[in-house]
Symmetry: C2
Subunit: 344 residues, 2 copies
DNA sequence: TTGAAAGCGCTAACAG
DNA sequence: CTGTTAGCGCTTTCAA
């Protein structure tokens, strides 16, 4: 397209030097007369020279490209766009990548079209919330493409680079908060145990119950239910939970679930927070605007994205080596759904 | 990194043919003995051969990479992640790109770090909601990089490829809806007139008022206000609007504005919908869960992203030529905020 | 029907 | 301090 781009040769010719000199001048390599270097740079600048990344990549083996990929079950297929937090995460990762002279490509989940790295040569990959059996991880390991997971790989990954929340501690914080708000009997409405977050939440819940000598009551939704009809899944799960025991507080991770649970409770004539306390997690911010506003466990997704990108980039240029583990902050945001005695 | 990738030479050697033959066999070029072609393919497959995109790109000049870039004011800087709809849009565009053997890279807005296409060689770019004076557009034109804008370029762009909503018609629909709901005096709380959407909304509003013989009352927020403190901006704007006239309905595009306006009205003792009817636009879905749920003008962002990607890809392989114009559907979603006489 | 060879733009030995 | 040269992996004339 259009009038051919200016190449290193054009610059060399215009500056009256060899291509090597140009290359060195522009990349601060070798020993060059500062004067020559300067002149070459001016010429290059004047000509609007831009190194061709493809050529550079061909020789260096690196592409300055990293990818971010959401790990989502393929069957049934989860709509990528349902997760608002990807937006924040991707935005931050992009910014971090660009600041270090890389770009970020977005990979669709699943393998139906093959992996991105079969199409684009990638220097590294960020995998968000790897699910059990995620095929991308073995593929990356086999291809020796460096990667960072956001959340631990539930299938192992002890030697991986991971940015993660301290899920067990956060879960305890949620449950402590509920207990302090007067909860006598707290039920967990768990998402399917497909990723480390879900698994660790359940474990955190069980341990907390053990520590506080309470009888756990956990209801785990199936993946099919949740994906095919989240409303119905939450509805059913709440029903099961309440049928089992006289629960007076629910921790329901995943914002869409939390919001639906709130509706389901209301439909049953149960008031929040008077009859049942409710906590969920933050995603698109629905919890905050719901009526009543729902207390959430919140994550700084932008921070997480930034950290993951930084970690990957560090791995790529050898500033860090495997394994890596970094913990991102969580915060409990109390709202009316857990303020039993407040006017709020 | 790791055990060198298998190159075309390896395949040629293993199959006992020349690299030319391999290239032809794999790309369906030239005239080859079908038997040879088949055998070469098997060998390549068996060896796990993947063409090196950098090499291919060096020769073809194409990279199979397209970018998506949000056009946002740099000063004051708008946080990319504030717009939930990017997530849906990017997800859909990614899927569309991948289906046609391309990948999508995300560009941060602004030019502080130079443009993406200075770092990654791109075949084309999607620019979301170009603002007045967006520097990317002239840059793209100059570099002759094909692009599609989502929403018209307010600075011209009559010869561009654009995917757009029919903003004037949608605005009319909103106002008609309000009028039908009993609105006597409808105010517009406009976002800054930085992009085509804002400009056309205002124009649509003015024309509608003219057609229906009403006196327009539009309050335009300044960019600084809106970016620095959206809550305060909306608050002030509502105040101004109400001070001017006895408005009984407001159309406040941009969901964050709409939600804030709702709060501001309540704080003033005005009930929605009884005292004031309210309509906003859809973004993260806050309007739907707000109390009362707010009627929105909704967009199918995924559809828009998909169309934009398709259009760009068509442009790239010559299936379409400039100019292009495609309209994406909008829908008015009535909720309680405009149901004056409903129990809802 | 197949192969040799040039060359895409760049970097990095190696010479001078 | 600067230039020559050999590739990186692939596509593509052009010849055989």
């Amino acid at each position: 397209m259009g009038g051919r781009r200016v190449s290193i040769k054009d610059v060399a010719r215009a500056a009256g030097v060899s291509v090597t000199t140009v290359s060195h001048a522009l990349n601060d390599k070798g020993r060059l007369n500062p004067h020559t270097r300067e002149r070459v740079r001016e010429v290059a600048d004047h000509l609007g020279y831009r190194p061709n990344p493809a050529a550079r990549s061909l020789v260096s083996g690196r592409t300055q490209l990293i990818a971010v990929m959401a790990s989502l079950p393929e069957d049934p297929p989860v709509e990528f766009s349902e997760f608002a937090y990807y937006s924040a995460l991707i935005g931050a990762a992009t910014t971090a990548a660009v600041a270090r002279d890389h770009s970020l490509v977005v990979s669709p989940p699943g393998t139906r079209n093959g992996f991105v790295w079969d199409r684009v040569p990638l220097d590294g990959v960020i995998v968000i919330d790897p699910i059990v059996g995620e095929p991308a991880l073995p593929a990356l390991r086999e291809r020796e493409i460096p990667f960072v997971t956001i959340g631990r790989d539930p299938d192992g990954g002890d030697n991986d680079a991971v940015v993660s929340y301290d899920v067990e501690a956060s879960t305890s914080a949620v449950l402590d908060h509920l207990a302090e708000a007067g909860a006598k009997d707290i039920g967990l409405l768990s998402i399917p145990l497909v990723n480390a977050f879900a698994q660790e939440t359940l474990r955190g819940y069980e341990r907390w119950c053990e520590r506080t000598a309470r009888e756990p009551a956990a209801e785990v939704m199936t993946l099919d239910q949740l994906v095919l009809d989240p409303d119905d899944a939450a509805e059913t799960a709440v029903g099961n939970l309440l049928a089992r025991r006289d629960i007076d507080a629910i921790y329901a991770p995943l914002e869409i679930v939390g919001v639906t649970v709130a509706r389901a409770l209301r439909r049953r004539g149960l008031a929040i927070p008077d009859d049942v306390l409710l906590v969920t997690t933050e995603d698109a911010g629905h919890a905050a605007v719901a009526d009543p506003p729902i207390t959430t466990l919140s994550f700084d997704h932008a921070d997480t994205g930034r950290r993951a990108a930084e970690m990957l980039l560090d791995l790529l240029d050898g500033r860090r080596t495997l394994p890596q583990w970094e913990t991102a902050a969580t915060a409990l945001v109390p709202r009316r759904s857990t303020a039993r005695h407040a006017a709020g």
